[in-house]
Symmetry: C2
Subunit: 577 residues, 2 copies
């Protein structure tokens, strides 16, 4: 029969890696068959339970260290527990050995001292437990350093406050819950070793970023920088502060030729802003919003990938293609006003909506589609409107608009009578069964309208082949001569139309490009393995010997903060919009 | 001053093209400035209103013909209206001229006669008004003909009944609201002229099919057949009867090398069945569910396109690639049971879910994603379960599973103790910061489990580069030697895992391949322009001189149907599940 012996140390904080090493060391003690060394969280207690190591009546207190050993005899168990402190000392000594030869045999206790030791450090890596993390990040910003915040379980309010603070200071905060980044060739947190090259990445998803950077390397190309944002950056509340900063940084970075933007599905309004900013970078951008219906394979300089492997391949393909081969970025023409689409083809209307709703807020339609406002009265347009004139409400007792354009021509005059309307989208579908000469009817009306409205743009999508009875070339030419811009692909037409309706980009206080400068130097607060990784990558790094302030006592912490003038009340204030 | 004169003819039915021609002819009469000839629907009256042609107090009666002319004098208006019947006669005479020289100077009044005149006709094209269309389609099925149903405004119940009836007879119904198809090189309804070739298409979207077939032609390739389904075929109630028949027809068609499946987003349960059937065709299938988040760029033999232009390019690329270059179809291994995924990487879990939920019903997860059931208790799996072990509930007070696999190893034993579980999905993410040798911990446990569970499959996704400190090759080899199937791409791993969990395909009564045989012969009931198109394409065709039964009187129609034994009650019966 074996016995279970345990010890609880209230408020004792240890790095999780230290706990794992302690656990292995205890399990190797004589007469011990199994050991558990954990912070007493609910999940950890459940794990101890499942391995028969949970002491009877053990309560959940996340700040308590709980040590349990299963031993052959009570004496063996007690001996093992008594070795706890000496095992800890031994581990500390070996950590000091490991960093011997590096610049810092001495580990500072405070961030301020660390900054004095390594003034060129532009980043502070933080991986302390969540409830302490915002305070440390705040101090790092006050010391004019960018923050890589690995810690999870950080309040959303704190995230919002930290990111606004950073933005106002020309700094950036990656995270919280930012697992990975590569800055100037050096991996922070979890990161694969990849060659340097022309692809710059922004990821609201940790392993997404790792899978794509690994993929790019495997395909023979390389990475300039990979910037993490944390999983909540694209939520409405946060508003993609870090991702927008990242786009701006990579747009200005001379090493970055192609940008990749990867995340789980963003909030709709955030997606709109982010895609708008991506359009304006002037570089090809591969977008992989996993699980978000892509608005097309390509829209201007944006290329939509479906899947991490696909994103890596697309990025490398774009890198390989000559500069001339790339689509010019969609430059905003500065024109504003409303867009109106009058479609005969239902699927073309649907595809156009799919593209427009991703970029424009306030799109209306008689086609039911998520993210698009329904039109109460289909006879009257509102805001940007896309109409499918082949829907039942328009076709009962009348020919389909692919045969009879009477209704569409009337609507075209109606829409263009509104001076707010600046762009018209139309489709012309050729082939058997359709109108025998649609351009002959449309062109005179287009000419007449453009005569009256010089700055109006009429964009026409023509679907057909040169074998079609209507003569594709003649139809296209007739429409062009009338002044319409003719495309054969909905996505291209939509990208063209969007140029006139893209909202002006906000002027962001920019992040100092020094954030991306190599060689990277950084200060690490938290997991020692991240410090070891930095050293292994030949980056200069200082490890802070961090302990929970006031032994983790919340009341005492608040008093200490106030005394030091580092209270975190500003975070609450700044997070109020 | 001009005057408005009008005439209403209750219950008078005319083909919409006839109305359009009448309208042009009336407007050309002396002293007439504008004319409107419409069925008195609400939309048409609104159109007359907008052009100043709506007679005061005109009521909405969709069965009534309404003729309005604006003339210089009352006399000119009355003269024009008096010409109505002679204009109609003149039009009839010219229609007879147009078809002179073709086999059928005589136009049968009934479908039965038409079938006797052209017994080789395997299709009946129907474009009569919606409320008559189901009855005509039913008679066509009874006469053993496939149906192309262009008419819209057909009841959903009637659609369900017609399609079930057709299926039980080895026939198919394209539509209702089916705008386009190409069968044996001949376009039905609206269709572009495209060369014949190796791409077969199925479209629940009319102009979608036209845009892709035109795109394929423009890229230099060709089309075997393009089968329309109607816009509601992929709704839950209809269950994709026509699309599933189409997949089966094209899978067996020797001319078809690559299949394209295009539609607006299908109902989730229908998507699952359809994608499952597509996996089993044994041919490359390009899927473009516009607006539906694709589960990946490629899964087995399925290739997901985003956009109509992209679908055309993908199909042509697949046609060009050698047979060896194509991925083998995911053959079902026949194994069943449950799938469990234990992920360290959140985005990899998300991407795997994205793929699995599209194919498997009843997937559970602790990751919030549409179409996936939430797991009440993350410590216990249900059905097919994908766990992200990096979520907060698993990481408070513990290292991330990319560093500490204790919890995952315990969970792996727990999952595989359940004899229902037949497949395990794992990820291993290498790189700085991660566990220094994950395979060394995982491999022995995998070996031990596979020793006990010989038919279990363990699939591992390894993310990393050959420069990573853990040695990618050694890690992969260690896992393979332990018996795991190792992949570097989530989509490939998911496609492999799906092979074991794909539901058995239903045995469908198959459609006679004669439906696709060339040369095509067809009977047209409704729009004369469709008949003219068939003749222009050198297909053999008979036009039925259709009139609404009983002059459109509903009560009388029902009595007539009963007397003829062609009542449509069976449709109501058959549409009840």
């Amino acid at each position: 029969m074996s016995v279970l012996r345990s010890e609880r140390r209230p408020g004792a904080y240890y790095d999780s890696i230290v706990l794992m090493q302690l656990q292995s060391a205890l399990a190797a003690e004589p007469g011990v068959s199994a050991a558990g060394v954990v912070m007493a969280t609910e999940a950890n207690l459940a794990l101890l339970e499942s391995t028969g190591l949970r002491p009877a009546g053990a309560a959940t207190v996340p700040d308590d260290l709980l040590v349990a050993v299963r031993a052959d005899t009570e004496a063996a168990g007690d001996d093992a527990l008594a070795r706890l402190d000496s095992l800890l000392d031994r581990r500390r000594a070996s950590a000091a050995d490991a960093s011997a030869g590096h610049e810092e045999d001495y580990r500072p206790r405070s961030l301020e001292t660390a900054v004095r030791m390594l003034p060129e450090a532009s980043w502070v890596l933080i991986s302390v437990p969540g409830r302490y993390a915002a305070g440390v990040a705040k101090r790092a910003l006050d010391l004019d350093r960018n923050v890589f915040l690995y810690s999870d379980n950080v309040d959303l309010d704190d995230e919002v406050a930290l990111k606004r603070r950073a933005r106002s200071l020309g700094l950036t905060v990656m995270g919280p819950d930012c697992g990975t980044a590569i800055v100037g060739g050096v991996g922070l947190g979890f990161a694969n070793r990849v060659r340097r090259g022309g692809v710059g990445l922004i990821g609201a998803s940790g392993t997404g970023l790792q899978a794509i950077t690994s993929g790019i390397h495997t395909l023979g190309a390389g990475v300039s920088h990979a910037l993490g944002t944390g999983g909540r950056d694209l939520k409405q509340e946060v508003g993609a502060v870090t991702a927008l900063q990242g786009l701006d940084l990579l747009a200005r970075d001379s090493r970055t030729e192609v940008i990749v933007l990867v995340s789980k599905p963003p909030a709709a309004s955030v997606a709109t802003r982010l895609l708008g900013a991506a359009l304006e970078t002037g570089k090809p951008v591969v977008v992989d919003f996993i699980g978000y219906p892509p608005p097309g394979r390509q829209l201007g300089n944006l290329h939509f990938a479906t899947g991490l492997g696909d994103a890596a391949r697309l990025a490398v393909d774009l890198l390989d293609s000559s500069t001339e081969g790339r689509k010019a970025p969609a430059e905003s023409s500065g024109a504003r006003g409303l867009l109106r689409g009058l479609f005969a083809g239902g699927t073309l209307a649907f595809e156009a909506l799919q593209g427009l709703r991703a970029f424009l807020p306030g799109v209306y339609s008689n086609v039911a589609i998520e993210g698009v406002e329904p039109l109460d009265d289909p006879t009257r347009s509102r805001g940007h409107t896309i109409l499918d004139l082949g829907e039942d409400e328009f076709t009962i007792g009348r020919l389909h608009p692919m045969m009879d354009q009477t209704l569409r021509l009337a609507r075209l005059r109606q829409e263009t009578a509104d001076p707010e309307v600046s762009t018209i989208l139309l489709d012309v579908v050729l082939g058997h069964g359709s109108h025998t000469d649609p351009a002959a009817e449309l062109a005179p009306v287009i000419e007449e309208i453009l005569e009256r409205r010089k700055r109006l743009e009429i964009v026409v999508i023509v679907v057909g082949t040169e074998e079609d009875p209507q003569d594709l070339e003649a139809q296209t030419e007739r429409l062009s001569q009338a002044g319409a811009r003719v495309f054969s692909d909905t996505s291209e037409a939509v990208a063209h139309a969007l140029r006139r309706h893209q909202a002006a980009s906000e002027e962001l206080p920019r992040v100092d490009p020094a954030a991306l400068a190599a060689p990277l130097a950084a200060i690490n607060v938290g997991l020692e393995s991240f410090h070891a990784s930095l050293l292994a990558q030949e980056a200069r790094a200082v490890q802070v010997d961090w302990r929970p302030p006031a032994g983790g006592d919340r009341k005492l912490m608040a008093i200490l903060d106030k005394m030091r003038g580092t209270d975190t009340d500003w975070m609450r204030r700044e997070s109020t919009p």
